[in-house]
């Protein structure tokens, strides 16, 4: 054996040994825990398995987007919880983005009051734990709302009470045609913008694709009302007297206080982080960029649209994606105020009833993991598409 081979062998050993040790450690650890789990479950007389998912859940859930009662299976209960989690996350993400962008731009305002107000907002809401904010909204602020008979009235169509926010319910007929018309309008918009881009690049013709797009977005769905037989009626909530002292609203959609406080707390908390991202993004675009754009004669709107925003978005989007993910994960705080989200329904009630800790906790964690990984990979893909393409 010559020296060179010996050296390579030593180097390989040096690379191999730590890896084997790590893998051994992981495998041993997992099998130790698995062995203990098996013994423990054997003692309690339960066998590992996911068969319980098809059993009857026999508990009720207070708020559900799909048909559900106690006679449905645990899998259905899981779905209800997941949908509730997604609902509150979606609402939270939309509101948080709106508030965050406004506050973030406000922090850069030349107006002293607006800038100071935004700063105070960020510093106050960012430095209070989310759970406390949630408790504050749920136990203090929303509990102070009036009873149904003295409801806060929004133009006689919507009422805010301590029992929830009652809004009109949409009653659709031929709803699927309406959805198809929206899909058709989106396809048409994509087609128009592609065509406009081609015309601009090849012939230098300018087609106002933005306004055309807005027009298409409203005309095609409204055509479905005229010719597609789609109708939309509103069911307005009405105050009913149940007994001499108890009043309640009937009809319409009731947004329960749990959902309201969760959406409020999540969006106001996450908005502070989004605001900071937006501020950093706009500040990150060099002053020279704006001056250069102005010197070649672009208008203010053009500078914003063509020079500042594309560069700022590149800085803003990655951390903001992280915030969206955090919001989705933080929505699990719902368990603290009994909003029936995934954690409360599945890792709470279902676990209590079946006692299947390992299966249920791993399904719950797996779901969140899948959710996080899919959102982050989607955003990574988008991020790549807006990244600087170096030639």
């Amino acid at each position: 054996m010559n020296l060179k081979n010996f050296q390579i062998e030593i180097k390989n050993k040096k690379r191999l040994i730590p890896q084997v040790l790590t893998l051994l450690f992981i495998v041993l650890g997992i099998s130790y825990f698995a062995f203990n789990a098996q013994v423990n479950m054997g003692n309690r007389g339960i066998a590992f398995g996911f068969g319980f998912l098809s059993q009857e859940a026999s508990f009720d859930i207070g708020f559900s987007l799909i048909d559900y009662d106690g006679s449905y299976s645990y899998a259905r209960a899981f779905l209800v919880g997941l949908l509730n989690t997604l609902l509150v996350s979606a609402i939270g993400i939309i509101i948080a983005t709106l508030i965050g962008v406004t506050i973030g731009i406000g922090r850069l305002s030349s107006n002293y009051l607006v800038a100071k107000f935004s700063e105070v907002y960020v510093e106050v809401f960012r430095n209070i734990p989310l759970l406390l904010q949630l408790f504050f909204w749920y136990f203090a602020a929303l509990r102070a709302l009036p009873l149904p008979e003295n409801a806060i009235n929004f133009y006689d169509i919507s009422y805010l009470t301590v029992k929830g926010w009652y809004v009109p319910k949409f009653i659709w007929s031929n709803f699927s045609i309406f959805i198809y018309s929206i899909i058709a309008s989106i396809v048409a918009i994509i087609f128009v913008s592609k065509y406009a881009k081609k015309q601009r690049e090849e012939f230098g013709k300018h087609i106002p694709s933005f306004y055309l797009g807005i027009g298409l977005f409203f005309t095609i769905p409204s055509l479905s009302f005229l010719f597609g037989g789609v109708t939309l009626k509103f069911e307005i909530p009405v105050l009913n007297q149940m007994t001499t002292t108890i009043f309640n609203f009937q009809g319409g959609v009731s947004i329960i206080p749990e959902l309201m406080s969760l959406a409020l707390a999540l969006s106001m908390y996450t908005a502070t982080f989004i605001a900071e991202n937006v501020r950093a993004g706009i500040q990150g675009v060099g002053k020279g960029q704006k001056e250069a754009a102005a010197s070649i004669g672009l208008t203010n709107t053009q500078i914003l649209k063509l020079v500042v925003l594309p560069q700022a978005l590149r800085i803003i989007i990655p951390p903001t994606t992280n915030q969206y993910l955090n919001l989705t994960k933080n929505s699990s705080l719902a368990a603290a105020i009994a909003y029936p989200d995934l954690v409360l329904v599945f890792a709470g009630t279902a676990l209590m009833q079946t006692g299947r800790a390992i299966e249920i906790v791993s399904i719950t964690m797996g779901t969140y993991l899948l959710l996080s990984l899919s959102i982050s990979s989607l955003m990574n893909w988008y991020n790549k598409s807006v990244a600087i393409k170096e030639k």
Partner: protein, 418 residues
């Protein structure tokens, strides 16, 4: 159009100033009378215009006093900061009106109408907050169910912690590392034994009785101390060129970062006992600290990785050319520089950790927020949720705000040094 013709300039400055201030005062009179006297002085107008009249009047007033280079310093300052355009003027007015409407009631509730004296709920006769609640329960909010006579043990532990942190800043460089080693290895043992007792004649106090704000600090301090080394090793593992180590580190980090803390705590409460040998029992608080440690270690690893990536390659090459091995290179050359770079990131992780501790309520441990939840359901103190949560929010805000300011200053200091 009218507004453009009526463009104020230096010649007609005084008349415009008078007109503008007049309109502005009418606008403010309107808003004050409608908020404080409940009297709408523009009742004769249609309802929408009447509602917006203060805004319209004051915006007009601000338009008239927007005079460039008026020569009056105060006026120029106002115009520059609050009134640079019609849009800015309206924004300023909206902020001012919102402040006028909501700040006085808030101040009244918090201070002027609030009750500070007394010992029972019946002493709260005023309209405002009942701070008596916080006063009576203060001890519980700070120490949980920890027996009153034994609370000096918690105080002493925190005193030692504060003193040693403080001495890091004043002692010369030479002794600093001993203090840090003391904090990392000896202090946790001392504090744990002192607080839980059971040795040296100290009364044993089970962890179920620990609570309040001190529990917040205990959990976050222990989790920080333990998660730091794990995080450093994970970060090194993630940057390792050995595939097995690299991918197991990535898997570990992404697993914890992808799930909410609350499910991790659920895991520690219901799933973890299943993984222990039959018959062994691990304390609830211990399980929570382990769970939070593993969770935060993943975040810490990402912070440290940022520092490792920011170091120029030359540092690695130089260390290798001196014949240093992997561990010597990292411990003496790479980590000291990388960790210094990420001190603000570590501070932010700690901040997030402190803000996350209230979540331990899911396993039944009652820190500050949990104690308030308990106190507000006490039959003698019903309806005190707002006071309790405002107090807790204030306490947490002071802690987190100080820390975030400190980490921002540190960030500024470090960024100028480089």
């Amino acid at each position: 159009m009218n507004l453009i013709i009526l463009k104020p300039n230096k010649e007609n400055l005084h008349s415009y100033l008078a007109l503008g201030i007049c309109l502005l005062s009418i606008g403010f009179l309107d808003i004050f009378s409608s908020i404080f006297l409940n009297l709408n002085i523009t009742f004769f107008l249609p309802s929408v215009i009447s509602y917006l009249s203060p805004l319209i009047l004051s915006a007009l007033g601000l338009h008239f006093i927007r005079i460039e280079y008026s020569g009056n310093k105060t006026l120029d300052k106002i115009n520059k900061n609050l009134n640079s355009s019609n849009f800015n003027a309206i924004m300023s007015l909206i902020v001012i009106f919102v402040l006028i409407k909501y700040v006085p009631p808030l101040l009244n509730w918090t201070f002027f109408d609030a009750n500070f004296l007394g010992n029972t709920k019946e002493d709260c006769t005023g309209e405002g907050a009942c701070w008596v609640f916080v006063k009576v329960w203060f001890n519980r909010f700070m120490y949980g169910m920890y027996p009153n006579v034994e609370q000096w043990r918690i105080n002493i532990s925190f005193l030692i912690l504060l003193c040693s942190i403080f001495s890091i800043f004043i002692l010369p460089q030479k002794y600093k590392k001993y203090i840090i080693l003391f904090l990392l290895f000896i202090f946790p043992v001392i504090a744990l034994n002192l607080i839980s007792g059971g040795i040296l004649g100290l009364k044993w106090i089970e962890t179920g009785a620990w609570g309040g704000l001190s529990l917040t600090f205990i959990v976050s301090a222990f989790a920080l101390i333990f998660c730091f080394p794990i995080g450093v090793f994970l970060a090194l593992g993630r940057r390792s060129d050995l595939p097995a180590i690299k991918y197991s580190s990535i898997g570990f980090i992404e697993l914890w970062r992808g799930v909410p803390l609350i499910t991790v705590l659920f895991m520690s409460a219901v799933m973890f006992p299943m993984f222990l040998p039959d018959g062994t029992y691990m304390d609830k608080l211990m399980r929570v600290i382990i769970a939070i440690t593993l969770f935060e270690a993943a975040y810490m690893a990402e912070v440290v990785r940022g520092g490792l990536q920011a170091l120029p390659r030359g540092q690695y090459d130089a260390a290798k050319s001196l014949g240093m091995g992997y561990w010597r290179m990292h411990f003496f050359i790479i980590l000291p520089q990388a960790l210094k770079l990420v001190i603000p990131g570590i501070a932010n992780t700690f901040l997030a950790l402190v803000k996350d501790t209230p979540l331990i309520f899911v396993v039944g441990l009652l820190e500050l927020a949990g104690m308030i939840g308990l106190a507000k359901t006490n039959p003698k103190w019903l309806g005190m949720a707002a006071e309790g949560y405002v107090f807790a929010a204030f306490v947490f805000w002071v802690i987190c705000f100080t820390m975030s300011r400190y980490s921002q200053n540190l960030e500024k200091k470090l960024s100028t040094e480089r």
